[in-house]
Subunit: 336 residues, 2 copies
């Protein structure tokens, strides 16, 4: 195991200087501190001196502006709660750390974790552009990524729901109702999970023997833009059902259809993804695929605990569940 | 919750008859007992009367003749061990039940579990032909399938290693050594996992920018037949490396090459899959992809425990690890 002496020897500084740098003392220059921290990470030094009474620490890294978790109606709330419900009784202090791209560019993931004595991280809301996504490919500090996958790093795991299964449930449900022309509307494909669901939609259509070419799917960065561009076109093309990449998109369709005088589900069926707390209260109540977020948070802790104990979990996916409400029905039921 | 009275009412028999049938009393006819058990399963009755002191029971269902687990050198030994290492300290009695196709045809999975008061099963060694594979699509008694996947049943989970990642590690390793023409030899594709690895090989080749058409892969039911058919052909075609679906295939190649005067790794590199205990002792010691079987067994218990507690795990995959020994080297290193 790497000691403070090893780091001092490598850099030709005293043990005291290394110790000070690792503990953030102000009389070590910033440049030297950075060098010492990066060398410590490189050499696999992971244990910081800690007061004996301080509990071990984990963090939830939340991509700033990209995931909301403070209020019960927000997507991330139960994910954070589920994680804490497991981690805190196990004796961990859990800090929630919002991180933006600027912050990630200033310090590497491993160095940040070492500096703050965090033993592992649960990472939520990151997009493919987040600088630390590169770090996770080779990082050594255990990290569990919610809805993001990094291949072949034994210190990193991916936790989420089985999106292939979810899309298959949605398409099968619509096919049973009698739908054949089904469209898919999605946020821009800048996140791993949006790419996965996009692919899963086409796969589910193929498996159900339904036609789906690129004209069946529309994506845009902004929800309103996505609806402007694709919704009228989808309806003109005679699509009788639309599956959405996430509930917010589906809810916006419900509102837009009302404005356009298009009835849901009589004229078009709509399915969301996630089952946000608001879904039973939309007009009409939204049929959607449930991600059990409490269980996702708990699974995140389980995977992190496993990685910290040398059990190299790579992927942990939960089943989704189709929650059937009133935004789906047989196509044109009242016209016949 | 369904009671014995509910079952009695449905069938028009007395409560005593239902109770006797559920407990296997000999004075209920076989036909009636079967009907009562099947109705109990259909109605979701899951708790059998049990002596208060008897521990709760789990079973490991092992496909007869298809997986060996009794000796430390056998593939299933550590999987069973890892499962028991978690389940028994948690208070469960764990029975290992060998099941063949004939047995599966006589009784459905749910009925078997109910009859024997098993709360959940860890299922190992099943092929796609095993009759209970159909049962697992709709069964209600928690089941964790090692190396088999059933979609969209919330009571069933799939545990294994990430084969896509494993194949990518193998192909990347060979490419770095300088190999371009790589072949793949596999058992017949009658098991889920053989299909997954077969597909993963072609995917890994594509991702590495290497050519792989159907002539690059050979499959046969018997290992010796597979070698007879494909090995000489692979060598004539100038393939410098062969990846195998499992270690037994790779070990057989080592022996066959020795007989043919073909040197490993000088003339051809060979990679296995699994890292069986024998791999360090083959001649030469085999480079292979490790499945950590103790951890797989433990993960199997974790997934089963989760399902029994209403946490709907669908998929749990462990990272594989490339174990580099002496059966791989740069191609034709000594000829240049």
């Amino acid at each position: 195991m790497t000691t403070i002496q090893d780091i001092a020897d490598r850099l030709g500084v005293t043990k005291g200087t290394v110790s000070k740098a690792l503990n953030g003392a102000s009389d070590v220059s910033e440049t030297l501190q950075k060098q010492i921290l990066e060398t410590a990470v490189e050499m696999g030094y992971t244990r910081l001196r800690r007061s004996k009474n301080a509990p071990p620490r984990l963090c939830i890294l939340a991509a700033y502006r990209n995931i909301e978790y403070k209020e019960p109606h927000q997507f991330g709330y139960e994910i954070v709660l589920g994680f804490r419900q497991m981690a805190e009784p196990a004796g961990y202090q859990v800090d929630i750390v919002p991180v933006d791209e600027e912050f990630q560019r200033q310090v590497s993931y491993d160095v940040f974790m070492l500096q703050n004595s965090y033993q592992g991280a649960f990472v939520i809301g990151f997009s493919l552009n987040d600088p630390w996504m590169r770090d996770f490919e080779t990082s050594r500090t255990p990290a569990v990524l919610y809805d993001n996958r990094v291949s072949a790093n034994p210190s990193t795991a991916y936790v989420g729901v089985d999106n292939d299964e979810g899309m298959a449930l949605a398409v099968t449900h619509l096919k049973k109702l009698g739908h054949r022309k089904i469209g898919y509307l999605s946020s821009a494909l800048g996140s791993y999970i949006m790419q996965v669901r996009h692919k899963a939609f086409f796969q589910a259509m193929r498996q159900n023997g339904l036609k789906a070419d690129s004209a069946c799917a529309g994506t845009s960065f902004y929800v309103s833009q996505c609806l402007d561009r694709h919704l009228p076109h989808f309806l003109e093309e005679g699509m009788t059902a639309i599956i959405c990449s996430h509930d917010l998109m589906a809810q916006s369709i419900l509102v837009r259809c009302q404005e356009m005088g298009v009835r849901v589900p009589e004229d078009v069926s709509v399915i969301g993804f996630d089952d946000l707390p608001v879904c039973p209260y939309t007009s009409p109540p939204l049929t959607t695929l449930r991600q059990n977020r409490i269980q996702l948070g708990k699974s995140g802790y389980y995977a992190l605990d496993s990685l910290m104990n040398g059990v190299s979990i790579g992927t942990l996916l939960l089943h989704t569940e189709l929650i059937q409400r009133h935004s789906t029905a047989a196509p044109n039921a009242d016209k016949k």
